[in-house]
């Protein structure tokens, strides 16, 4: 199973992004590029919030074009707004199993287990506002765990957390990705995160998403555009 971008072109006003590359299953990829280069656009394309103007996006041999965002084999952690503030922790996680929240006893058990795995046992009835930033991230991760979709997209969801908390979340995320065997794409501004988490990196520059390359060598000897961005 692979994720293939076949000759894709997205146009948004003056901005264009092209992508022609293949991501093998189970890999972890950092997505790096200057601000405004199209990192989030790439994720929106996979998530189904944008349709390509040209080309095809193929997962496991199937074109994703006809699938609505919620039906794609994808879980996304957005930069903000990963939880519904008016719903309890339990319900926010339960939505990952059934959007209508009609959970049977077994499913409720699974929600409780997922919360236990991310270290939030006993917080089921709280609202997100009553949790710390790190705990809120854990709730979102518990839902990712339950949904167990084969593709996991991270649009800098931990950027508001401090360094220690962020690396804690990344290692929790690593564990979840290992458990579910998911392919992970992580947008990041931080070369250290990319090195720590992603063996491969997709570089986006000049409106083009390049095929993945090993992260270490790429960051040790960056091409000029990336060098200017990294400073």
């Amino acid at each position: 199973m692979t994720l293939e971008f076949r000759d894709i072109l997205v146009r948004q006003g003056q901005f264009t992004l092209t992508a022609d590359l293949t991501l093998p299953r189970g890999g972890r990829f950092a997505v790096i590029g200057p601000s405004g280069s199209g990192k989030s656009t790439l994720l929106s394309l996979i998530g189904g919030y944008l349709s390509p103007d040209r080309g095809r996006l193929i997962w496991d041999g199937q074109d994703l074009a006809d699938q609505a965002p919620g039906q794609r084999p994808v879980s996304t952690l957005f930069q903000n707004h990963n939880l519904f503030p008016h719903l309890s922790v339990k319900r926010n996680v339960g939505l990952g199993l059934r959007p209508d929240l009609r959970l049977d006893r077994h499913q409720q058990q699974r929600v409780a287990e997922a919360l236990q795995q991310v270290g939030l046992a006993g917080m089921e009835e709280r609202r997100p506002a009553a949790l710390s930033g790190g705990q809120q991230s854990r709730v979102a991760l518990a839902r990712v765990l339950l949904r167990a979709r084969p593709l996991l997209l991270l649009d800098e969801p931990f950027s508001a957390l401090g360094p220690a908390l962020k690396s804690e979340m990344l290692s929790l995320l690593s564990r979840i990705a290992d458990d579910t065997g998911a392919t992970v794409l992580m947008v990041t501004h931080d070369p250290a995160d990319a090195r720590a988490f992603a063996p491969q990196t997709v570089l986006i520059e000049n409106g083009q998403a390049r095929p993945p390359r090993p992260t270490g060598p790429l960051l040790d000897d960056p091409p000029p555009g990336l060098r200017a961005y990294l400073g």
Binding site: G70, T76, H81, N82, F84, H86, R91, L95, P99
Partner: protein
């Protein structure tokens, strides 16, 4: 968005609304004679409509400036309550306020009692001066709130800077306050002008005659007394022309939103001492008395009689409550569907459709619907359903104003998350839309309910054997049963505020 049906409930509602308004306007235009059908009387109504609206708007805006300034720079116990009360006339039934004004300014009111005691000539509340008095009563508070928002929009840093430069009140006025007023006053003036342009109830109760008849009232007279449908329809076209013209002007002049903004007074202008302190106190007191005295007078007159009201008044009250709740429900459903469609960016025409009721006054719609339905049902049969439908339609622009921004931020903040979780249909409505929009929905429902409860407009065209409470109150006034009328007014006021409070509270239950 990749997914989503091309047709949503929002589209259906927008199309139905466009058909309702467009269809009734077409019926009016079809039946209308040429402009030559208008008599000299009708031209006088047109002229009166324009100048009373202009004078009402000017008086309201000019008188509102000192009140708003005093409220902006003074802190006193009860200030918050007073500012909240300034919002009340919006949902106060017009006919109740008229009862109150008659109780104070009428022949047997306190004012004329005083004048008589001093041997001075009496004043009459009936005629153009009464129409203008009532319009200022309703629109002065609205104007004060709008201008107060302008004052509070001046950043506190500016006032601090002015204080550090040693500005006198005159300098503050010149450099800070007058530029704000120049920007805010045209919008305030136009907002009041628009409201007064379609004034019906006030003119019905206090005006009439050759010198105080509005176009809206002339439609009613042509329809009800002369039964001259052609002339009623022609006057309807004139009314539509007035509304469209005023709305065109509104495209150049921004009308500020009239409700919902925060009213806390942090960092307002420096409060000068001396005679200005006394003047501010006097201005605030005068405005409060002008606003509260009529309501207190009608309450004092009516409250003791409340329990001995005849059964037919209670019947009318029950009828009115049922109609208002139905109307509010219709308006809420339509508003929600329209606002969600607009927030998803589904075509500008939906937003335009939602604002269509602004170009058609209630009596024009009533006339049009009568023309369309007259072969099918009797006027008696259509009275209540038509009133419910028109009240729901008239509440849409207000409801949309409250809902569209909330629906937009809902879509922007949680649209992607909901889509990624496949949250659709009923589940999305129940777990996302309704909880997130509960507050503006409650507020919009309260507005729609209170406006429908207090409305005395289109119902006057049709029925008298199944009156609503406002119509019953008007009938009591006309038969000079003033104490019963005052008691009915108290009942109507309580029910209107209660409806608003219940809906609004319902939207905040979760908070």
């Amino acid at each position: 968005m990749a997914a989503g049906l091309p047709l949503s409930p929002g589209h259906a509602i927008a199309a139905a609304l466009a058909a309702l308004i467009g269809g009734t306007l077409a019926a009016v235009a079809w039946v209308a004679g040429g402009l030559s059908a208008l008599s000299e009387w009708d031209m006088r109504a047109l002229w009166f409509t324009l100048w009373q609206a202009a004078l009402s708007a000017t008086l309201s805006a000019v008188l509102a400036v000192p009140v708003a300034r005093a409220l902006a720079r003074r802190q006193f116990p009860g200030r918050g309550l007073l500012v909240t009360l300034l919002g009340a006339p919006f949902i106060l039934p017009v006919i109740v306020a008229i009862m109150g004004l008659i109780a104070v300014f009428g022949r047997n009111g306190a004012l004329n009692e005083g004048l008589r005691a001093l041997g001075l000539p009496e004043i009459s509340i009936y005629g153009w001066q009464g129409v203008i008095l009532a319009h200022v009563f309703f629109n002065l508070p609205l104007s004060v709130r709008l201008i107060l928002q302008g004052w509070q929009a001046i950043p506190a840093e500016r006032f601090r800077l002015a204080a550090s430069l040693g500005f006198a009140p005159r300098d503050i006025a010149r450099h800070l306050e007058r530029p704000m007023l120049r920007a805010a006053l045209p919008g305030v003036w136009l907002a009041v002008f628009l409201v007064c342009l379609t004034s019906f109830t006030v003119a019905l109760a206090l005006g009439g005659g050759p010198r105080a008849t509005t176009v809206e009232l002339a439609i009613y007279q042509a329809f009800r007394f002369d039964f001259d449908l052609g002339r009623a329809a022609t006057l309807g076209l004139v009314q539509i022309g007035l509304c469209v013209g005023a709305l065109m002007a509104a495209r150049w002049i921004a009308i500020p939103a009239s409700f919902g903004a925060g009213m806390d007074a942090r960092g307002g202008p420096v409060a000068p001492g001396g005679w200005r302190r006394a003047a501010d106190a006097a201005v605030i007191a005068a405005a409060a008395v002008f606003l509260l005295w009529p309501l207190a007078a009608v309450t004092a007159l009516g409250l003791p009689r409340l329990t001995s009201l005849p059964a037919e008044v209670w019947d009318a009250a029950v009828r009115s409550v049922l109609m208002a709740v139905t109307s509010a429900g219709l308006a809420l459903g339509a508003c929600l569907a329209l606002a969600l469609a607009i927030a998803r960016g589904r075509g500008r025409w939906i937003e335009t459709a939602g604002m269509l009721p602004l170009i058609a006054s209630p009596l024009v719609l009533g006339t049009g619907l009568f023309i369309l339905l007259r072969g099918l049902v009797t006027p008696q049969q259509m009275a209540l359903p038509v009133t419910v439908a028109i009240n729901a339609a008239m509440a849409l622009p207000f409801g949309l104003r409250a809902l569209i921004p909330a629906a937009r931020s809902l879509q922007a903040d949680y649209g992607q998350l909901a889509a990624s979780l496949d949250l659709r249909g009923w589940a999305r409505l129940r777990y996302l839309t309704l909880p997130r929009l509960a507050r503006p929905l409650g507020f919009a429902g309260g507005l729609a309910g209170a406006l429908a409860m207090g409305d005395l407009g289109v119902i006057t065209l049709f029925a008298s054997d199944q009156p609503t409470l406002p119509l019953k109150l008007y009938q009591l006034m006309n038969s000079y049963r003033m104490e019963d009328a005052a008691a009915a007014a108290v009942l109507l006021m309580v029910l209107s505020f209660a409806l608003f409070w219940l809906f609004d509270k319902g939207g905040r239950l979760d908070a």
